[in-house]
């Protein structure tokens, strides 16, 4: 949000000059979020296709879906992909649901990566207040993962 890109016009209002390069922070955040969203949606799509294509897992899905619909799944822990190691093991076997979970993990990691990159951008511009602000957020995030 820099004022430099706003140019007052003679009519009293102002026009936005889109030809000006976006500030480094906005650019960096947009790049990180764009990569995260693209990568994760590619993984999600691949995972769904692999799941639906694999004969055996189609049967598994057929069994699971009515169960979901009728509320029979009262034990949320039924998915075997609840640790990063399990997801990586599944992905190495090319399992569809594991690919989906990798996509989910990339999606979850994206905002955290965005905060980490912001720390770097503010460090480069030596904006001490915002280095502190973003580093604090990153610390709380990482701390919540360590505690959770």
């Amino acid at each position: 949000m820099t004022d430099s890109v706003v140019q007052e016009s003679s009519g009293g209002g102002a026009e936005w000059d889109d030809s000006a390069a976006p500030p480094p922070l906005e650019r960096a955040v947009a790049v990180v979020l764009g990569i995260g969203v693209t990568l994760s949606s590619a993984l999600l799509v691949t995972g769904v296709i692999v799941t639906l294509a694999a004969r055996s897992s189609r049967h598994a899905a057929t069994r699971a879906m009515p169960a979901l619909r009728h509320g029979a799944l009262h034990q949320p822990g039924w998915t075997s992909y609840s640790s990063i190691a399990a997801v990586i093991r599944g992905v190495s076997h090319g399992t569809g649901p594991a690919l989906v979970m990798l996509g989910v993990l990339v999606l979850v990691a994206t905002p955290i990566a965005r905060v980490a990159v912001s720390v770097v951008v503010f460090s480069v511009s030596r904006d001490r207040r915002y280095i502190l602000v973003t580093a604090l957020v990153l610390a709380v995030l990482l701390g919540s993962f360590a505690l959770g």
Partner: protein, 278 residues
């Protein structure tokens, strides 16, 4: 319903949640949880797991567009994230002790009130000038954005940063405690206390909720609450919907945006009441 039809229905739910979530700064969890549990009979924990992923997908997907439109104020977002993340951790800690039902009722009332206040709020131009705020000056929070609906650039000054920060801490604590209503408290805090334009409040809330949700996602993942076959179609739908919703925000009339927001937050408040009495 065949698995394929069920998957298609989940994508549809995702598109709706992502679209409204992106437009209103709410993240879309308020649609995913009730629809999955009430319409599709999905287990509540799996539905909440899917909604956490929904919120992150909406946030990341929509923010890319909001940065291009200069609607999200990153400095405000990053500063307030200090309050929301620490609040969320506090709330999660308190929540493991106990969650009295009366809290749900209290916050349902608070939400309904702030929804009405947001809906009745005057245009930026029709309000008295905001009081000067030294903290906002020092943090460089003031901004401007090109408003397509009005065909000109709107400049705004941020007021009452400390109050906003305190409210954001409360918003974070409530979402950590009750697992609901994160964006629905963030937008009123920015709109009513800090005096941001409605579109900037919505876009900046969108930007922030991804981080708040990511802070709790690890817990749900480790518990096995994130089901791949349920989450993938919803998340993909959300990404498409968030893109569409983010296209609508620059051109929408602020008055209409306020009304839509109020209606959606009333839905969140009703969700809370249902949770209190179930």
């Amino acid at each position: 319903m065949t698995p394929l039809e069920f998957t298609a229905a989940l994508v549809g739910v995702g598109v709706l949640a992502g679209g409204l979530g992106a437009l209103l700064g709410l993240g879309g969890g308020f649609i995913v949880v009730p629809v999955l549990t009430l319409v599709f009979n999905v287990n509540i924990r799996l539905a909440i797991g899917a909604s956490i992923v929904t919120i992150i997908a909406t946030s990341s997907g929509a923010t890319v567009a909001f940065l291009r439109d200069h609607l999200a104020n990153l400095r405000i977002g990053m500063f307030l994230e200090v309050a929301t993340t620490t609040g969320a951790v506090t709330g999660a800690f308190l929540g493991s002790v106990l969650v009295p039902r009366v809290l749900f009722v209290i916050f349902a009332v608070v939400l309904a009130q702030s929804a009405v206040a947001v809906a009745r709020r005057k245009h930026l131009e029709d309000r008295p000038p905001p009081p000067p705020d030294e903290l906002a000056d020092r943090l460089g929070l003031h901004g401007a954005y090109p408003d397509q609906a009005r065909g000109r650039v709107v400049t705004y000054r941020v007021a009452r940063t400390k109050t906003g920060f305190g409210l954001m801490y409360a918003a974070g604590a409530v979402s950590g405690l009750l697992g609901i209503g994160s964006g629905s408290l963030k937008v009123p805090a920015m709109d009513l206390a800090m005096g941001l334009p409605m579109k900037v409040s919505s876009a900046t809330s969108n930007f922030m909720i991804g981080v708040t949700a990511a802070a709790s996602a690890g817990v749900y993942f480790a518990r096995g609450d994130i089901d791949p076959l349920l989450t993938a179609p919803v998340a993909l739908g959300v990404l498409v919907g968030a893109f569409a919703g983010s296209r609508l925000l620059p051109g929408i009339q602020p008055r209409l945006l306020r009304l839509l927001f109020a209606v959606a937050v009333i839905v969140v408040a009703v969700n809370m009441l249902v949770k209190a009495f179930l």
